[in-house]
């Protein structure tokens, strides 16, 4: 599953939810002005507790769902067990990304890549974007710490780097065009414990 699939699903699911809740409140607003046929109500404490249980299930369920469906959650939680194929040490200083090689840096599909980004001054962001501006991933880059992120590419293309965190007005221009190029031959998945 790529980030495009996840975001597409979010668009659909949230749009359906938004229209449902708007319709519900609209219906409620209409009905509340009408005199009820009977004052006997189904809104009992039992209904309330059932609703509460559903809320708990949704609140916890979303995290279980994403853990099982979105690959990068496990990559992050099990990163100490995963050995990367390549490590890119990137430095950010004075509103500039300093990449370890000449761009575009070529990555093979399926390679487990570790991006280790270090800031020498401010808090920045490190985001990878497709040419149509959609996001592949991002992380915060906090100064004084190693900011490591594992990723495995499954989509061919050219990607640009953009700082995703505000670091003053100069931060808006922190972009490296065509920073990485991914070439695909076959798809493989990241194995935990490699």
């Amino acid at each position: 599953m790529t980030s495009t699939d996840v975001l597409w699903a979010l668009k659909i699911v949230y749009t359906i939810y938004a229209f449902s809740i708007i319709s519900f409140v609209g219906w409620f607003a209409y009905r509340i002005t009408k005199k009820p046929e009977s004052y006997k109500t189904w809104l009992t404490p039992k209904v309330f507790y059932t609703y509460l249980a559903i809320l708990v299930m949704i609140g916890v369920g979303i995290h279980i769902l994403t853990y099982n469906k979105i690959p990068w959650v496990a990559w992050e939680l099990k990163k100490h067990k995963i050995k990367p194929d390549r490590v890119f040490n990137i430095t950010v200083e004075n509103h500039q990304f300093i990449l370890p090689e000449e761009t575009p840096i070529t990555i093979k599909c399926g390679e487990v890549v570790k991006f280790n980004v270090v800031s020498r001054d401010l808090t920045y962001g490190f985001g990878l974007f497709r040419p149509d501006n959609t996001m592949v991933f991002q992380m915060q880059v906090v100064p004084g710490h190693n900011n490591e992120l594992l990723w495995q590419f499954h989509e061919e293309g050219s990607f640009y780097v953009l700082s995703t965190e505000y670091s003053g007005p100069k931060g808006a221009r922190m972009r490296v065009p065509d920073a990485f190029k991914v070439v695909c031959n076959k798809n493989v998945s990241m194995g935990v414990g490699r």
Binding site: S3, V6, L7, L10, K11, Y14, A18, I21, I22, V25, F28, I32, T33, K34, K35, P36, T41, L43, F48, Y51, L52, L55, I58, G59, V60, I62, H63, T66, Y67, K69, I70, W72, V73, E76, L77, D121, L122, T123, G125, G127, R130, N133, T134, M135, F137, Q138, M139, Q140, V142, H145, N147, L149, T164, E165, Y166, G168, P169, K170, G171, A172
Partner: protein
Amino acid sequence: MNIKELLINGNNGGLDHSGLSPLQKVTLRFVVIGLIFYGVAAIEGMIMRVHEIKPVPLLSDEHFFAIMTAHPIVGIFGSTYLIVFGAFTFLVPYLMKKPVFSIKIANFTWGIMTLGTVLVWLSGFIYHYAPLYTIYWPLPVDFSQFHIAGGIIFVIGVALIMIGTLAFIVNTYATVFYTPKGQKKQPIKPLLMSAFGIDGLLNIINKIRGKEPYIKDPPLSLPIVAIFRGTVDTFLDALVILTAGLLILFFIFNNLFQWGLHYHSVDALLYKNIFWWGLDLIADGLVLIYVAGTWYLLAMLITGRNLFMQNIARAALLLELIVSWAVWSHHLLSDQPQPEIMKLASGEMITAFELITQGLAFFITLTTLWLARPLKMSNELKFLLGGLLGFALAVPAGIIQADLGMNRLLHNTQWVAGAHFHVAILVGLTMTLYSAIYILLPILTNNSVKLFSQRLANWHFWLHLIGGIGMGAFMGMAGIDGMLRRHVYTEGEFMLYMIPAGICGAMLLAAWVIFMFNIIATIGIKGLIGIFKPSKIDKEVIVPQPATAMQKG
């Protein structure tokens, strides 16, 4: 009557301010200033919306981000805080049937907060000081980008706002606990138990154990519990922001006098954790609780009934207190050095409780209204329903981004700004506040005014509702497609979303203009000026005449 006369004198003679008590006047001062700041924030928002559609030639990146820095401070502290504080300064004494502890402190609060907000705004307008609302260390002391004078004015402005906030808290606590002359002294313990919702929890436990209720008639009404409970978080938040301000001030002097201390001596991640712990108390501890309390109050006033599942609502306020102190890590889900256990426990699981506590308030309020059918679709009811809808849309959007998988793609995007907090603040919170204003207007004016135009009130409602949801939705969609929130786009990258978002933003601005016109036409500029003149009525008086709107309850 022509428009000029109408605006000067108001509808049917406008507001008779001579009959207002000092408490009524000070409350109206809070609200008037808060509404003006709302307009300033709306105009700032529109400037940014327009700039994202077609770059404004005179607007440099520095100025753009200075607006982005001032915008939330004017909107949250200058507008929302002042309206909420004003309403609560009135409601605590009104509901407890005793005078406010100090009118002087109340006047000091709105005055110093207004001055603080203006200073913050000026630091951006004059010096383009723009570390943004989040002031991530060491950006606020990066004087290669910002002017030192801008930093000093900004910090003083924020400090004044926080001092005003602390003054409000002192006044609220003192009003809850003090005993006015001639009244029977209330013991502190039951008041404290009630203020934190502990009596509600004990009632539930006793019910489960088949025992008599711990207390049948709690000393504090539910809205007071919510107000008291919210001020705990307001207090902690004010302390954290004040401390951050002092740290920035220290490093300003460090830079000025060459003390030689490097800003890396402060750990940026630790600072970020402490800062977010405090700042998050506004969103997750304060807004949700104050809003829930206001919903409960409005539902009771509109229906004249007690709340459905009242003990649960009281206990939930206690639960939310603990939850609000432990959720901040959802702001650091994309920070790789942040320990994983913090992300999972605080960032994901405890944050999910927001869905439960807010969902619970949503259910209780709607059920209380439903059980009182048929109700007249008054202004207060329609704005209350709008407020409920706003949070029903915004809270799940927040829970979605507070997930390790989703945050990787949503952190710092327009999804957070649009679908989550703009819908929460503009639709959820602001419409709830409009509802409170409509229901409190007759009480605060001794029924001396009649709303100028119901048709304008309807226009205000629909433009605000559609504009707020629409702007949030289009910004959110842009966020899904990769548009960042703290960024400036000048190549028309997200034009497809920014044009409709701009149109919806213009609807919001138009809604505010219509509302202000309607209110000024109702009260009259003479009446508005009169609000700021001293009252001749005894300061012990809460409301000089019985207000019929409240008698509904």
